[in-house]
Symmetry: C2
Subunit: 360 residues, 2 copies
Amino acid sequence: MPEPKHSPATYAVVMAGGAGTRFWPASRRARPKQLLPIAGDTPMLARTIARLEGLVPIERVLVVTSAELADGVAEAVPDLPRENLVVEPEGRNTAPCVALAAFEVHRRDPEAVQIVLPADHVIRPEDRFRSALAAAVDEARDTQRLVTLGIRPTHPATGYGYIRSGDERARRGDWSVRDVAAFVEKPDSARAAKFLESGDYLWNAGIFVWSTDAILSAIRAHAVDIYDALDGVTDPVDLARAYGALEGRAIDVAVMERATNVSVVPVDFAWNDVGSWPSLAEVVEPDASGNHESGGAQVVARDAEGCIVHGDAGTLVALVGVRDLVVVKSGDAVLVCPRDRAEEVKAIVARLEVEAPDQL
Amino acid sequence: MPEPKHSPATYAVVMAGGAGTRFWPASRRARPKQLLPIAGDTPMLARTIARLEGLVPIERVLVVTSAELADGVAEAVPDLPRENLVVEPEGRNTAPCVALAAFEVHRRDPEAVQIVLPADHVIRPEDRFRSALAAAVDEARDTQRLVTLGIRPTHPATGYGYIRSGDERARRGDWSVRDVAAFVEKPDSARAAKFLESGDYLWNAGIFVWSTDAILSAIRAHAVDIYDALDGVTDPVDLARAYGALEGRAIDVAVMERATNVSVVPVDFAWNDVGSWPSLAEVVEPDASGNHESGGAQVVARDAEGCIVHGDAGTLVALVGVRDLVVVKSGDAVLVCPRDRAEEVKAIVARLEVEAPDQL
């Protein structure tokens, strides 16, 4: 009978440095989407960490964020140990972020397996998510491969990258672990329809599981500039200099698409990256009046429906005779916009850079 | 050569007790329309008093309001002597209010001429208004008649009562003073069109000028219950009892329609009683984007026009791709409603009585 294998600890690396503008005016520079209760009663980051309960204790959750957001993160997740905040000197997309976190985990436990995930997604049901992650953790630990979760598409989305899955490598519990045949850029709608039909294509949700050794080896192999820049650097000034000099790129492009040891666990739970105001309609059930409320506002609707309403807790939003609007009240700012034009919020934000920078 | 006549002092009585709901959520119970900067940068009451500059000094301006609004009035008009607040025990429409003020003016100066006017109208240009009032004051003083200003209609409005003017009695400066042939209830649109065409009909703006003796005599003659209830009553408890027992009615109905000594000064300046959100489009010029802003909010519009936007000073309201909406941000409440459905705000307010009374 073999000795029971030593089981390495599991860490979580939550990427929470984003500063998106698409949820303005709820999201501001100092309080982006992941720190807001966009879809539910708690900040998305807090929900993301709570979703790992039983899998990763809070002591082994690292949150990578910017210096500007550090206080907001601490406020959103009060029980997160302060030393578990990993501060990125500046934003350089996900590849440097993953490397920075991997070196930090390595310093804490070189044998650790890491779950790397964005701070601002909605995933349900959460027990299915944990079950899939547990399978991925087993796979990453036993095979030293880079493992990713791939979401089975429910519609021909053109806003996501896709993963084409290959042969099954293993079954772990309920889950099939498969080779990754290819990472595929965001498709046009014709290709997206084909992807959906084929059954082999999965949405790339940016959720990864790997051992610390495996990811550091892969970064050294495929993005050696990042590896060399960050290897052994802990002094903040040195780190800022090294980080600032890096070319920003996504971990998918820098590493995953180049690596040959990538596995995918196809999953079928509900996943949404809540990319803009209209996507709230997908993750927030309509209330009795047929409007989608987020953020804690009280909505009083009279012959109004299909609206997406986000307001600070304690806010009252009264809608009369309107359809399919996005209505946001956050602090001293209000946004009113048809759902199908919400992408133009970016243009408003661009104007505010000049006209009202204190409202960003 | 005759002795120069002693010229009695002119008082102003500003009726500021209203608690309308049509400007919710900007107007609240403790802060109704007249205390708000609905059309301009200053509260409408303050503008109403400032509009009398040179005609009535602030020491002779009485403001009739409710106990609930007394602090708000003092805040809106900080230089108003506190003893010039006349507190109505409760709202009983304008006839008891006029009587209450008339007795108060009589105690201060029995020979005074009074200008009685609502606190919440927009009138431009203000020098023409003062000129017409001065003519009315002369007429009231010299003839002891009840004088009212009648606004020459600019469109066949169905929301106002009308005054049919009769023969000219006198000319005073630029102004003709005419007999009142009749007070006429709000017409339907066909009658309103005829009124406009005839040239004899004027809008009843509820602006009156009379000597204290003349109005008290008229009240005694035509509304003796009011006269008797308030005559000589100054003790607050007695006043509350007497006032509460009165049947509420308008001064037009109780006195003006019955009196036979009423004159009207037809005037042609711009007058607006700003009765609801849509009327702001008539008194607030559109900004460069084609939207009407009130209250001091910054409006950022992208392909949005015809909207009426009211927001607290310091508020930012961003509009994308919307047309002809009323958008109000006031405190913790937001209203979004098409301009042509703004009357339904009343229904929202009725629901809030039950669902969110603290938002009233």
